[in-house]
Amino acid sequence: MTDLSEAVAVQDTAKIGPPLWLLAELTYRCPLHCVYCYNPVDFAKTEDELTTEQWFKVLREARELGSVQCGFSGGEPMLRDDLEVIVAEAHRLGYYTNLLTSGVGLNEKRIGALKEAGLDHIQLSFQDSTREMNDFLSSTRTFDLKRRAADMIKAHGYPMVMNCTIHRHNIDHIEAILQLASDIDAEYVELANTQYYGWAQVNRDQLLPSREQLERAERITNEWREKHGNKMKLFFVVPDYYEKRPKKCMNGWGNIFLTITPDGKALPCHTARMLPGLEFPDVRTSSVREIWYESEGFNRYRGTGWMKEPCSSCPEKENDYGGCRCQAYMIANDPAAADPVCDKSPFHNRITEVVDRAQIAGNAAQVKPLIYRGPKESLQLDRPF
């Protein structure tokens, strides 16, 4: 390498900000079987979870680059017996540590050990407001257990985010879901409309709510905010299928987010491993610095230089960076295309067709049985989404 090219490389590195957000997906194993799980549909084919030491290496190298928010997710991260020591190492390195859990596996002993390890916050997921629906949607008997987990989280003084993924089958219960959040004394509530990746893409017609359902849920959420002030902070994430412009996915490719999969792949977002023709680096063989600044996987869709029409001449390209690469691939069959959620995309009709179907209650596509996330189904379907 000449001196000049080295100088140029340094300059480029200086322009790219640090991976502020590190998402550590500790395992794809999960006791729940949620029909909208974002994990890859073929997750059961992956083997060889990273070891404790390998996670320490990831945490250390990412922290050196400036990562500061660290999420422990999965699958169900409580299934890792070494969760407490991994959290302790993250805390020691100066991360703000977040545990994203279904609550399954949380008991007095472990929640105390996590507190001692320096865990800062717990996000607890519910599938719905009642035992019947929660247990139906996760195909488990976990509602009562989650209520107990919520009590433990509060008793140990953690701030709590309650997360509920919203879709056609629970969106009409939004008031009861908000009441549940209030009853368990959550500080933050995420009413996250399903994004159609992974298992949610498999079950898309059964999950996408109608426009009327969506407007009602948004109205009730706003009314709750007016009535109760900001004691609980509410986030209502709209499904992008109802938008005309795409979301600024991950705040830009390789901009602030770094996901590490259970088997050690480094991804710019948690679903990017579905994309064809792109090799994502492995943390066992590459440093986080090489991954973030130099790898093809992270540089391919950074910024705006890779764009095609209609994105490349679009005045809004810096606002949304062309939307989501995975959605472009799933729907337009080209990861470099405009996200078809955008009404400038030539494939936008493929979104509106799904939206139109969602307005007709009980149509043939909606009444197909839901496919639950599980290892057997994963191997049978044998596809990334």
């Binding site: 640090p18 502020l20 680059l65 400036g66 500061v68 928010q69 999420g71 100066g94 703000y96 977040n98 800062d120 916050h121 996000q123 701030p159 985010v161 500080e187 933050y188 900001n230």
Partner: protein, 90 residues
């Protein structure tokens, strides 16, 4: 609650302030989020320890930065910080 020189602000229970060399800034961390603070916000907020009142914070800042007349700025920031729940005030 109206903020006066007697108000004692404290960084909120669910927030953490720390210096981040990679961002060359103080940041405020909370569940799944972060606010990057500008220099004056960082310098004020790191002094919100639940012991010093606004008058003491102003005096400390004026000494440290060899400045005068910071009271109105500090009060305005603490008002904003309280609305955002970054600080609790007593």
């Amino acid at each position: 609650m109206a903020i006066t020189t007697a108000t004692v602000p404290k960084v909120g229970r669910n927030f953490r302030i720390q210096w981040e060399p990679a961002q060359d800034a103080y940041v405020l961390l909370y569940p799944e989020g972060m606010v990057k603070l500008n220099q004056s916000a960082g310098e004020i907020l790191k002094r919100c320890d639940g012991a010093a009142n606004v008058a003491a914070i102003v005096a400390d800042l004026e000494t440290t930065f060899n400045a005068q007349g910071l009271e109105a700025d500090v009060i305005a920031f603490v008002e904003l910080a309280e609305q955002q729940k970054w600080v609790d005030v007593t």
